[in-house]
Amino acid sequence: MKWFAGAQSVLDPAGPQAGRIHGLFEVFLWVAIIVWVLTVGAMLIAFWKKHGGERHDDTTKRVVTACGVITVAVLLALLVASAVTGSAFATVPSNNVMNIEIRGHQWWWEVHYPDYIPHERVTTANEIHIPVGRPVRFKLTSDDVIHSFWAPNLSGKLDLFPNRVNEAWFEADRPGMWRGQCAEFCGLQHANMAFWVIAEPPDKFNEWIENQRKPGVMPSTPDQAHGQEVFLNGPCVVCHTIRGTNALASVGPDLTHLASRHTIAAGTLALDRGNLAGWVTDAQRIKPGNRMPPVNVPSKDLEPLLAYLESLK
């Protein structure tokens, strides 16, 4: 996972929507700067100019009226600019669209790729891979409270409601990784409910999705096999799925290809052994209040378990 300045920024657009909004923002910004300078300038002159002499209230009133009229004109222009930008991507393009379903949970993102035949439907979490140059339609809903889906480099945000589906779409026009974050206050760990959007050239994307469709890899070393045993006989199976095993619960994120992701804990920690160990044994220390209980793994079992999890590419 490479962080860089602007990985989660309105000002560094990576797709057509964010680009147009950024353009609109610049228009508004310049208007704002000019208006502010003129207003505050007029006020300063009003204070420090030489006062006295005859007062011409009628002339002054005409000037004030003119300022009012100019205000109206400027606002109308901005209104039109805003409406044009808004309608430019109001409708989802119908050609060549890829569908992704997102389900918000306190405090992580469940991601589905429903376009593939049902039993090979891809489920992942907190990481959204998209092909460059292809519009992606998102169906957003929530499992519990209201969340808001926002990847500023790509597009504006849209809320996730329980018992309702909202639709959004965006497109990446260059490969890269961008971070997004829940933007509607959703409780204790609202601050740590992030995700990454990874835009890849189509062939790389296809490679990724092919891999995601496979069940979890079988352990290849005795260590990993022991780890799998720990996983399947422990409390992990109460909440998590690893396809190809008996772990089928859907309370927490799907772990089938955990090791192919860049982060854990909803975009909070880089995926490495140390972080994984910390998370498995005491997730509450890292994200207080999150739904993952502390797991008491005997020390002899911890390393094999981590080895197994890290093998789930």
Binding site: A7, A42, K61, L79, S82, S87, A90, F185
Partner: protein
């Protein structure tokens, strides 16, 4: 010669009788029987500032927590309680009540009467506000402060995701404070309609009075909405109704609609009184009548109306139909027009006047510099595409602090500086005042300007922490430093006020040379405000008509005021106001018992109502025996109309 002395010499007033009839009750018990608008108004202002300090401490705690990434000063639970309490305090326990307090104190004096129309209701409203605030803070100090945000979105605030009593404390605090705001609104409207001094026709009403009049109407139609939805939330939480429960056909969107139908006008409820104060300060220190009186009044009325048509712009990200959104975009941009017109009028007044940059005017200059930024970022977020990017980010935090601190608190401080001599009879210290202004102004901008940039760089609101890799650390640290400068600025202001109230130089009745009649009475004013009710013959009576004719024939031996008609303020009848009484306080206590009990067990609502019966009967029970002189004149036997 003071106007009072003059009136005594003219033989139109019996000062000792006035003193006796309007004397405040004495002793500890007397404190609870007080019904004079000056005392109640001051209580509102002082109480609101105490809550302001508490809200400020919460703000500083949040800024400390965010000063660096992954800070561990506050845990997420505490942080959520603190930001919720901060927002709720500033909106419900500071901003609205302090404006109400200014209104309760100033309006009767500015319209030339002796008290508000319903003095006992006024006292009752204050106690409700006080008890509501104490109730919320009892929760906070018991570590069961509300934690679902000041906007308490369902289902996060609903019974499923917020068990316990936290949100119930919050919702019931709303009932308390809104009740208080509503009674103040009613009594101010009636005071302004029916109790203006003779001759104060609509086109001579002082700007601040207009502002409170408009604000009160907004309160009347906005506050019931929040009472309704917080009540519905309480029912959902305590007796299992389903208003906001999507599983049984309820709708979380319903909460957002009702809440913002209140929540957006709320902003203008805070802002409009400040607009009124600004006009008086600009006029006084420009030493010329305000330019565009009619335009200013109409702009405020327009603001009041449009303010009710904007609520959906808080909900652009919820996925509403596009057509509806466009309407609300247009309305949200249009509200900039009346505000712009007012700013132009003020600048033009200064331009064509002979301004002296005294401290209240300095605050107005600060207001324009800050508020215009907030207004312009407001135009940005009225645009749906831009709002979808910056909604619920620190950009919004910056925006509304620019609007609310810049638009309401800065003019309020200017207004307090301006009317302080009237309230206390003493002047605040100018050197200290200048210092506090600049600390506030600079601290404010250092705190909140960086937040615009943070928001554009992707930092969401209401996060208790953030990762170091985000690069948000430096600007957050800067904002935290600014917050402390800002806090010092406020503290210096408060210390200045405290010290001046004890040792400040005497002010005299009209230290600034202002134009309106509240400056004709001594500072601090007598309990009856004016020895003689003046007759108003112009818009700037102190400038054009310093020795006006007066009203005679009011009975000084009891609390009698003059009722005039709405349009032209022609005398209609005399009106006897009630004197000190304990019943409003007792009614507030019994209502409080009912309200607090209800949070735990719904039946307490019934017990509270039953208990309230006693003080209500006491309240309405006629005390005065019909006066013999009245009976003789035939007034006592009916047939008056």
């Amino acid at each position: 010669m003071t106007p009072t002395q003059e009136a005594v010499e003219r033989g139109t007033v019996d000062l000792s009788a006035l003193d006796r009839s309007w004397a405040p009750p004495q002793g500890l018990l007397g404190w609870f029987r007080q019904v004079n608008h000056q005392n109640i108004g001051k209580r509102y202002i002082v109480t609101a500032f105490i809550f302001f300090i508490l809200g400020g401490i919460e703000a500083l705690l949040m800024r400390l927590q965010l000063a660096q990434p992954q800070n561990r000063l506050l845990n997420p639970d505490l942080y959520n309680q603190i930001f919720t309490t901060h927002g709720s305090t500033m909106m419900f326990l500071f901003a609205v009540p302090v404006m109400e307090g200014m209104g309760v104190y100033l309006v009767p004096m500015m319209v030339g009467t002796r008290n508000v129309a319903f003095p006992r209701l006024n006292a009752f409203g204050y106690y409700m506000y006080l008890f509501g605030g104490l109730f919320l803070y009892a929760g906070v100090f018991l570590h069961i402060g509300p934690d679902a945000g000041w906007f308490a979105y369902t289902p996060l605030s609903g019974p499923l995701y917020d068990p316990g009593k936290r949100t119930d404390f919050w919702a019931q605090m709303i009932t308390f404070t809104e009740m208080s705001a509503l009674v103040v609104a009613v009594e101010l409207i009636v005071t302004i309609m029916k109790m203006r001094a003779p001759g104060m026709s609509l086109n001579r009403i002082p700007m601040f009075v207009w502002a409170m009049f408009i604000q009160s109407f907004m309160v009347m139609f906005a506050m019931p909405a929040v009472m309704a939805c917080s009540g519905m939330l309480l029912f959902d939480r305590s007796v299992g109704t389903h208003f906001f429960n999507p599983a049984e056909g309820g709708d979380p969107m319903l909460w957002q609609h009702i809440f913002w139908f209140f929540g957006h006008p709320e902003v203008y409820i805070i802002f409009v009184p400040a607009l009124g104060m600004i006009s008086h300060i600009v006029e006084t220190f420009s030493r010329r009548p305000i330019l565009g009186y009619t335009a200013l009044v109409l702009s405020q009325i327009a603001t009041g109306f449009i303010g009710f048509g904007l609520w959906v712009h808080h909900m652009f990200a919820t996925g509403l139909p596009q057509l509806g959104e466009s309407f609300f975009t247009a309305a949200s941009m249009m509200i900039a027009i009346p505000t712009g017109v007012q700013i132009f009028c003020w600048i033009a007044t200064i331009w064509t006047g002979r301004p002296t940059l005294k401290i209240p005017l300095l605050y107005i200059a600060g207001f324009i510099a800050i508020f215009v930024i907030g207004g312009l970022s407001g135009v940005m977020i009225a645009s749906v595409p831009l709002d979808l990017q910056v909604h619920d980010t620190f950009f919004i935090v910056a925006h509304f602090h620019y609007v609310l601190i810049g638009g309401a608190v800065v003019p309020l401080l200017g207004g307090i500086y301006f009317w302080f001599p009237k309230m206390t009879g003493r002047m605040m210290n100018d050197a200290v005042g200048t210092l506090s202004f600049w600390l506030t102004f600079i601290g404010f901008n250092i705190t909140f300007f960086p937040m615009h940039i943070l928001g554009l760089h992707g930092m969401p609101r209401r996060v208790y922490t953030y990762l170091p890799q985000t690069g948000w650390g430096d600007l957050n640290l800067l904002a935290t430093c600014g917050a402390f400068i800002l806090a010092i600025g406020f503290i210096v202001f408060v210390l200045n006020a405290l010290s001046a109230s004890q040792n400040g130089p005497a002010a005299g009745s009209n230290p600034w040379g202002s134009s309106n009649i509240e400056w004709s009475t001594p500072s601090p004013p007598p309990h009856y405000n004016f020895a003689n009710i003046p007759v108003i013959r112009g818009r700037e009576p102190m400038w054009t008509d310093p020795e006006p004719p007066v009203v005679t024939g009011l009975d000084d031996s009891r609390r009698e005021v003059l009722v005039t008609n709405t349009l032209d303020a022609e005398p209609e009848h005399r009106y006897i106001l009630p004197g000190p009484t304990i019943w409003p306080f007792l009614l507030a206590v019994t209502t409080t018992i009912g309200f607090i009990g209800t949070v735990f067990q719904m039946w307490w609502g019934v017990w509270g109502a039953a208990l309230s019966f006693i003080p209500l009967v006491g309240w309405f029970w006629p005390r005065e025996r019909p006066r013999p002189d009245l009976l003789e004149s035939g007034c006592g036997s009916g047939g008056i109309e």
